[in-house]
């Protein structure tokens, strides 16, 4: 570890590793720090990801792919199933990842691009001079060090403090977070080609239960509930009830917990010398909770903008506005649309959700796009879903893809 770099990236998840790699490939001197001793562990993710979007950032590798997805099966509270599957031959559209291996592979890519990677190294505070972020105070194995940099990229996850240290309020309201628990289980008996979703206020208030195949007879069985509906019972209690009822004989091999921001895009993700990316910038999708692809998209843009700004010798908020503008153009519209959908759907009662599911019983889906599902729902339930009409105007305008 040196005392000075062009860029310090805090956090070696997908956002941080892609940002670091991108900046290093442009020729910048980059340090990537990770507070944990193992990159990618513990997992805080259901691990599903869209194939097309993933390929834009890394060539798929069997070492970190557990399952190929052909489609989704969504269950309403009364058990009505909506199946969405790709009809094209061999049309797997998504992967279920092994994040522990995947995250380390991304960090490895950044190391190969010239990034210096340090684990067990935690950011303690920012170094701020004349209103500019000038570096990071870190702790490594109990010793503190001051590291100066021209730009800091904060990819420090849902628990991010870097934004707050720089005066950007990134705190989340209970109604804007999904609180989640998940078990990796053997013996659920699910079809490994499908991901399963169970919706309903009784089983998962303000959220859903997911079952994602992990290869062999394994699956991630998890739940997210809206923070504002948690308290009396917590996410893990709802999950245990669901498993007790549906998979009493399945065996648990791993337990994961986490919080997923569903607040939609925040007002500000930059200041002089600083960019926030990924979950730290609350860029996860408010309806699916997916965050990997958005994190990688934003990380790539941040790496490029770091290079542009440093090349021009201007790392002020004005120069970094390029990052803010570009990530909003690329993923911001979809995040905002998903927020609108989330706000409509969390208000539905279980009988309303059942009636929505029944309205789709005769619809054949030839894709697993969430947008196709919403459009079919809208066509059949215009009165109930009238607020969604804006969405379908935007579809054409922004060419949205919900399958991230």
């Amino acid at each position: 570890m040196k005392s000075e770099y062009d860029v310090v990236v805090i956090g070696a998840g997908p956002a941080g590793s892609i940002a670091a790699k991108t900046a290093a490939k442009k020729g910048l001197d980059v340090l990537l720090i990770e507070k944990r001793q193992e990159i990618g562990d513990p997992v805080r993710c259901a691990e599903g990801v869209s194939k097309i979007w993933l390929r834009k950032h890394i060539e798929p590798d069997h070492r970190w792919i557990c399952a190929d997805l052909k489609g989704s099966r969504i269950f309403s509270p009364d058990g009505t199933m909506i199946e969405m599957a790709e009809e094209i031959a061999g049309g797997e559209v998504g992967y279920v990842l092994e994040r522990k291996i995947f995250d380390r592979a991304l960090a490895y890519e950044s190391a190969k691009a010239g990034v210096e990677v340090m684990v067990k190294t935690r950011a303690l505070d920012l170094i701020i001079e004349n209103g500019f972020i000038k570096g990071v105070k870190v702790m490594h194995l109990g010793e503190t060090y001051d590291i100066s940099s021209k730009i800091v990229i904060a990819a420090d996850g849902v628990e991010s403090k870097v934004g707050r240290w720089a005066g950007i309020d990134t705190s989340i309201k209970p109604s804007d977070i999904e609180t989640c628990a998940q078990y990796l289980m053997s013996g659920t008996g699910i079809d490994q080609n499908y991901c399963y979703f169970h919706i309903g206020n009784e089983i998962a208030p303000g959220g859903y239960v997911w079952i994602f195949p992990k290869g062999g007879d394994l699956a991630n069985v998890g739940i997210g509930i809206l923070g504002s509906k948690s308290g009396e019972k917590h996410a893990v209690d709802y999950l245990n009830e669901f498993i007790e009822k549906n998979y009493p004989n399945a065996r648990t091999l791993e337990m994961d917990v986490g919080g997923v921001p569903v607040c939609g895009s925040i007002d500000k993700t930059i200041t002089n010398g600083l960019m926030l990316v990924g979950d730290a910038a609350r860029q996860s999708d408010p309806i699916t909770g997916g965050g990997i692809i958005n994190a990688m998209e934003a990380g790539k843009i941040a790496g490029e903008v770091a290079y542009n700004a440093i090349s021009k010798g201007d790392v002020s908020i004005n120069a970094l506005k390029e990052y803010e503008d570009r990530w909003r153009a690329k993923i911001g519209h979809e995040i905002d649309n998903s927020l609108m959908v989330k706000d409509i759907f969390i208000k539905f009662t279980d009988p309303e959700i059942n009636s929505l599911a029944h309205s789709l019983e005769k619809v054949n889906f030839s894709s697993m796009s969430l947008l196709d599902l919403l459009y079919a729902l809208f066509k059949a339930n215009k009165k109930l879903l009238w607020d969604l009409r804006v969405l379908f105007k935007n579809v054409i305008k922004y060419d949205m893809d919900f399958e991230r």
């Binding site: 507070k35 944990r36 001793q37 513990p42 805080r44 067990k120 935690r122 996850g157 849902v158 628990e159 991010s160 403090k161 707050r164 990134t170 705190s171 989340i172 309201k173 209970p174 977070i177 609180t179 989640c180 628990a181 923070g227 948690s230 308290g231 917590h234 996410a235 893990v236 209690d237 337990m255 994961d256 917990v257 986490g258 919080g259 921001p261």
Partner: protein, 58 residues
């Protein structure tokens, strides 16, 4: 002083509590949650913890 206590035997150190803390009193260090004197014991973290590992200390 009122504050919150984290049951380290239950905690999965996911950091969800840190993100909802309105005063920035919590910090996910490596495998544990640090609670600073800025904690007002508002109880938001108690509510949202996925495993119910946090309690307000009376």
């Amino acid at each position: 002083m009122v504050t919150v206590v984290v049951n380290k035997f239950k905690c999965g150190y996911c950091g969800a509590c840190v993100s909802v803390c309105p005063t920035g009193a919590l910090e996910l260090v490596e495998t544990w949650i640090d609670v600073s004197e800025m904690c007002t014991a508002c109880g938001i973290c108690v509510r949202i913890c996925p495993v119910g590992a946090i309690e307000v200390e009376k």
